[in-house]
C-alpha cells in the first residue's frame, strides 16, 4: 500500500475530528505519512462532518477525492460519499443504522448500536467501536489500536478498549496494511505548529477573540500557558485584542494575536498604530471564505492584498504564508523575530486548510527556531525611543528604566517620541520606516523566502502560496513540472522569485480565490502568469481537482500520464 485514503463521516457532535485523528494515528504508528482534511459546517450538533485521512509512504499535504475506505456512521455519510468509492474500496458501516443498497465494493457491517448497548457505553463510543472494525478490515494489528487508545483516550479507557475490541472482532479482514520502516512522527494542525513556533521564539502573551479558523490557537495556547508562562487574554473584541498586544509589546512582552477576516478588519486601525509607533506585534491571520461572514468553516485565500495593504498610511510589514505544519512552525518563529528585530507588524497568513488540517511534523526537517534578542538600548545618554540609526531600527528599552522616559506615540513624532507637525521630521520618520523595510528585505535574502520543488529543468511551473503547496508539489510531480512556492509575501522576494523563474516559459498560478491575487501581486513586479487555476467555493483543491485542471491546459494535456477529464464545476479558470 502506497497511498490510502479513509473517510469517516457523521454528524457534528459525533467526534468525527477525533475519530479521523485516531485513523491518522494508526497509520502513523505504522510509519506512514499522513494528511487529514476535516470538513464541517458552522453548527454545533447535527449536519454532516467528515474527516478525510490520507496515508502515504511519502510526505503529503493534500487529500484525494477518491477513497479506499469509507466509514459510515450514518446513512448520509454513505450517500454523500459513495461517489468517492473505487471498485476496490471497502465500506465499513454501522449495521444497525445504515442501509447499504446495491454496492460493488466489499462492505463490512458492524453492529455498533448493539455493541454499545451490551457494554452500556455512551453514544460517543460508536467511533471507537467502528474504528475497531476498521482496523480489522484493513488488517492492522489489535495492538496498534490498543496503543493509540491508551495514549489518547485515557478517560474510560477500559470501556473504550472493550467496545473497540468487539468492533474489531465483529469485522473481517479484507486486506493488510504493511508497516513501513519509517519512524512515527508527531501529528498536529498548522495552528498547533504556529503556536509552538511562536513559543519557541519567545512568545510571552497571546491575545485573541475567538474566530474560526484561528480559534484553535487560542485553545492550544490557553491549555499550555502554565507550561510556558504565557499570558492569555481573551478580551471584549478584536479591537481590544490588537491594542492589548501592543500594550504588552510596549512593556517588553512579546505578543501575538490571532483572528480571521472580520476580526482582522477591526484590528487595522491599531495595525496602523503599530506602523507609526513602531510596535512589534505578530498577527495570525487565518483566512476563511468571504466576503463578510461568508462560510465560517471553509477555506479561501481571499485576503492577500488586504493584509498587504491594511491600515492607513505607509509602513513596512512582514508577511509569510506557511504551506504546512513544518513551514508553520519555522516561519512563525521567524515572524516573531522579524517583528522584534524591525519593530514592525508581522503576519502569519494562514487559512482554514493550513490552520486546521492535520500534518505530520518533523522537528528536524522544519528548521531551527531561535529566540532572537531585539536591539536593546545601550544605557548611554538619553534614551530616545525613535532614535535615528543606520538601519532605521531604534534600540528598545522597557519601563521602568531609572532616569529615562520611554515615549511611544501614534502621531508623527520626534526621536524622543513627542508629537510634531514639522514637515522635515515627517519625511525623516517616513524614510526611517522605509529604511527598515529595505534592511529587512536584505536580511531576508538569507532565508528561503521562495521554495522550488519538483523537476528543476521543467519549462513549466506551478506558482502557489500557502496551503496549496502540498497539492501543487504532488500534481506537478505527475506532470513533471516544477512548483514555486512564495513563502514571504512582504517584503516581496522579487529577486528570489525571478531566480526561481529562470528557465520557466509557462507559469501556472494556483490559488483559492477568484481574482488570482498572487498573480496580481507578481504582475506589479513585471512577472506574468500564463494561466490561473482558481477555486473559490470554500473547498480546497483535492489532488484530482488540480490534476484535472492542469490536464485541461492545452500545452500540458498530452503530458499527463493518466489524466482524468471529469468536469470540475466548482473550478474557475481565467486566462491572463
Amino acid at each position: 500500500m502506497d497511498d490510502f485514503s479513509t473517510l469517516i463521516g457523521g454528524i457534528a457532535g459525533d467526534g468525527i475530528n477525533e475519530a479521523g485523528m485516531t485513523v491518522a494515528r494508526l497509520f502513523n504508528r505504522l510509519g506512514y505519512r499522513i494528511f487529514m482534511y476535516y470538513d464541517y459546517p458552522s453548527l454545533i450538533r447535527g449536519g454532516h462532518n467528515f474527516s478525510l485521512v490520507r496515508a502515504s509512504r511519502r510526505n503529503i499535504a493534500v487529500h484525494r477525492d477518491k477513497i479506499d475506505v469509507l466509514i459510515a456512521l450514518n446513512q448520509e455519510t454513505l450517500e454523500q460519499h459513495r461517489v468517492r468509492l473505487k471498485d476496490s474500496s471497502f465500506v465499513i458501516y454501522d449495521a444497525d443504522k445504515v442501509k447499504l443498497g446495491d454496492m460493488k465494493q466489499k462492505c463490512c457491517g458492524i453492529p455498533v448500536t448493539q455493541i454499545l448497548k451490551e457494554e452500556a457505553a455512551p453514544a460517543v463510543m460508536k467511533n471507537t467501536c467502528i474504528l475497531g472494525g476498521f482496523c480489522r478490515v484493513v488488517g492492522m494489528e489489535w495492538a496498534v489500536l490498543e496503543d493509540v487508545l491508551k495514549k489518547h483516550m485515557p478517560k474510560k479507557l477500559e470501556q473504550n478498549l472493550r467496545v473497540a475490541r468487539k468492533g474489531y472482532d465483529s469485522a473481517v479482514e479484507f486486506s493488510r496494511v504493511e508497516k513501513t520502516d519509517q519512524q512515527s512522527l508527531p501529528i498536529m494542525t498548522g495552528n498547533q505548529a504556529i503556536s509552538l513556533g511562536l513559543i519557541k521564539a519567545g512568545l510571552g502573551a497571546y491575545v485573541a477573540y475567538p474566530m474560526t479558523p484561528s480559534s484553535s490557537v487560542l485553545d492550544f495556547m490557553a491549555r499550555v500557558s502554565p507550561d510556558f508562562g504565557i499570558k492569555i487574554v481573551h478580551p471584549e473584541s478584536e479591537i481590544a485584542v490588537m491594542l492589548m498586544a501592543e500594550g504588552f509589546a510596549y512593556a517588553g512582552v512579546k505578543s501575538a494575536v490571532g483572528t480571521s477576516g472580520g476580526g482582522f478588519c477591526l484590528m487595522t486601525e491599531a495595525l496602523s498604530l503599530a506602523g507609526s509607533a513602531e510596535i512589534p506585534v505578530v498577527i495570525i491571520m487565518a483566512q476563511r471564505t468571504g466576503p463578510s461572514t461568508g462560510l465560517p468553516t471553509y477555506t479561501a485565500q481571499g485576503d492577500l492584498h488586504f493584509v498587504l495593504n491594511a491600515g492607513h498610511g505607509e509602513f513596512p510589514r512582514f508577511v509569510v504564508s506557511p504551506g504546512d505544519a513544518e513551514d508553520a512552525y519555522y516561519w512563525s518563529g521567524v515572524a516573531l523575530n522579524m517583528a522584534w528585530k524591525y519593530q514592525v507588524p508581522s503576519f502569519i497568513l494562514s487559512d482554514k486548510i493550513t490552520s486546521e488540517s492535520q500534518y505530520n511534523f518533523d522537528l528536524a526537517a522544519a528548521g531551527e527556531v531561535t529566540e532572537e534578542q531585539p536591539v536593546q538600548w545601550s544605557g548611554q545618554g538619553q534614551y530616545n525611543r525613535y532614535q535615528y540609526t543606520e538601519t532605521g531600527v531604534s534600540p528598545l528599552a522597557f519601563a521602568p528604566v531609572q532616569g529615562q522616559k520611554i515615549k511611544s506615540d501614534s502621531y508623527t513624532h520626534d526621536q524622543f517620541g513627542i508629537t510634531t507637525e514639522d514637515a522635515k521630521i515627517t519625511k525623516e520618520m517616513n524614510d526611517k520606516r522605509l529604511l527598515k523595510e529595505r534592511v529587512m528585505a536584505r536580511d531576508l535574502e538569507g532565508y528561503e523566502t521562495v521554495k522550488v520543488f519538483g523537476d528543476m529543468s521543467s519549462k513549466t511551473a506551478l506558482l502557489c502560496w500557502g496551503s496549496n503547496k502540498g497539492v501543487c508539489i504532488e500534481a506537478a510531480q505527475k506532470f513533471g513540472l516544477k512548483t514555486i512556492q512564495v513563502l514571504v509575501l512582504s517584503p516581496f522576494p522579487e529577486q528570489m522569485l525571478k531566480q526561481a523563474l529562470s528557465g520557466v516559459e509557462t507559469l501556472i498560478d494556483v490559488e483559492c480565490n477568484s481574482t488570482a491575487q498572487l498573480s496580481r501581486l507578481a504582475a506589479c513586479y513585471g512577472i506574468k502568469t500564463d494561466e490561473q487555476i482558481l477555486k473559490y467555493d470554500g473547498r480546497p483543491f483535492s489532488l484530482e481537482d488540480l490534476e484535472a485542471e492542469i490536464g485541461k491546459i492545452e500545452k500540458l494535456g498530452n503530458r499527463e500520464k493518466n489524466g482524468n477529464n471529469e468536469k470540475h464545476e466548482t473550478l474557475g479558470r481565467i486566462s491572463a
Binding site: K151, L196, F248, A277, A399, V401, Q402, I406
Partner: protein, 284 residues
C-alpha cells in the same frame, strides 16, 4: 523631585484658560509627591487616547503611550498585565472613552484591573471643534447637531458603578487642590479607579460660570455604600438645569482584580526545548 521636573520641551497647544491645565498641574504634583514617597516615577506609565486631553502625555516627562482615539484602556490594561509593578494611568476624553471606546471602559471596570482613568469630561469633542458627546446636555448645539441634540446624556459614574469600578469620584478643573486629592486616592487605590473630571472647554462649552454656581464638595458621605453612592451620583444627571453637582469620592471598594490572576504567570527560563520535545511526543 519637583512637579516642574515632569515638564517636557513640547509646546503646550491648549487654549488659554482650558481646564486641561489644571489636570496637568495636579497630576504633575501628585506624581512628584508619590515619587518622593517611594512610588518611583519610572514605574509610572501614562496612556492616552486622542483629543485635546490626550496631549497631556506630550506635556509630562513620564513614560507614556500616546495611543489612538478611544483605545487608551486596552493598552493600559495590557501594560499592567505585562508588568504588575507599573502604575498605569489613562487620560481619556468623553468622546474617547464614552463614545468611540466605551466598551473598553466598561470592561476595565468589570475586570477591576488596577489602573486609573482620568476622564477629561468637557462634554464636547474639543479637538474636532465642538460636536456633542455622550455627556452633552439635551439640546446641545454643535456642528453635527446645529439644531440641538435629541438625546439625553449618559451619567458616567452611574455606569461605572453598575459595571464594577471600585473607585469612583468626580473632580472639577476649577480647584487644583481637590483634584490632587482625588487623583492621589485614585492612583493609590488598588483596582479600577475612575475619576470623572468636569474639565471646562473654554472654546466650545464654557461651563465655568454654571459649574461654579452649582458644584459642592461631598463631605462625610459613606463611600462604602453602593446605595448612597448611587443616590449621590444620580442627584445630577448631566443635564443643563440648576441641580447641584456633587464633587468628590462617591465610592470605594475592594474586589478581586484581573491583574492578580496574572501576576504569577512568568516566562519560563530554561527547559523550554525539553518541554516542547516532551509535548511533541504527545502528538504522536
Amino acid at each position: 523631585m519637583n512637579a516642574k521636573d515632569l515638564a517636557t520641551y513640547a509646546k503646550n497647544t491648549w487654549c488659554p484658560g482650558c481646564g486641561n491645565f489644571s489636570i496637568l498641574s495636579a497630576m504633575r504634583s501628585v506624581l512628584a509627591q508619590l515619587d518622593e514617597e517611594g512610588y518611583p516615577i519610572e514605574n509610572v506609565v501614562l496612556v492616552s487616547g486622542i483629543g485635546c486631553h490626550a496631549k497631556i502625555t506630550d506635556y509630562m516627562n513620564v513614560n507614556s503611550f500616546y495611543s489612538i482615539h478611544g483605545r487608551a484602556v486596552p493598552v493600559a490594561t495590557a501594560i499592567k498585565l505585562a508588568n504588575p509593578d507599573l502604575k498605569v494611568i489613562c487620560f481619556s476624553g468623553d468622546g474617547d472613552s464614552l463614545a468611540e471606546g466605551l466598551d473598553h471602559l466598561i470592561f476595565a471596570a468589570k475586570r477591576n484591573i488596577d489602573i486609573t482613568l482620568i476622564l477629561h469630561d468637557n462634554r464636547v469633542y474639543g479637538l474636532t471643534t465642538g460636536q456633542y458627546t455622550p455627556t452633552s446636555p439635551l439640546g446641545y448645539k454643535g456642528k453635527s447637531t446645529p439644531f440641538g441634540t435629541a438625546e439625553l446624556p449618559i451619567n458616567p459614574p452611574e455606569l461605572m458603578l453598575a459595571c464594577g469600578a471600585t473607585y469612583i469620584a468626580r473632580g472639577y478643573t476649577h480647584g487644583i487642590d481637590h483634584l490632587q486629592k482625588i487623583f492621589r486616592e485614585a492612583i493609590v487605590h488598588k483596582g479600577f479607579s475612575f475619576v470623572d473630571v468636569l474639565q471646562v472647554c473654554v472654546s466650545y462649552f464654557n461651563m465655568y460660570e454654571a459649574y461654579n454656581r452649582r458644584v459642592y464638595e461631598l463631605e462625610g458621605n459613606d463611600t462604602s455604600s453602593f446605595d448612597e453612592a448611587l443616590k449621590l451620583i444620580r442627584s445630577w444627571n448631566y443635564d443643563g438645569g440648576e441641580t447641584k453637582i456633587p464633587l468628590g469620592k462617591f465610592y470605594e471598594a475592594d474586589a478581586p482584580r484581573l491583574d492578580q490572576a496574572f501576576s504569577s504567570i512568568k516566562p519560563i527560563g530554561a527547559g523550554k526545548d525539553e518541554k516542547i520535545k516532551l509535548m511533541l511526543e504527545n502528538f504522536i
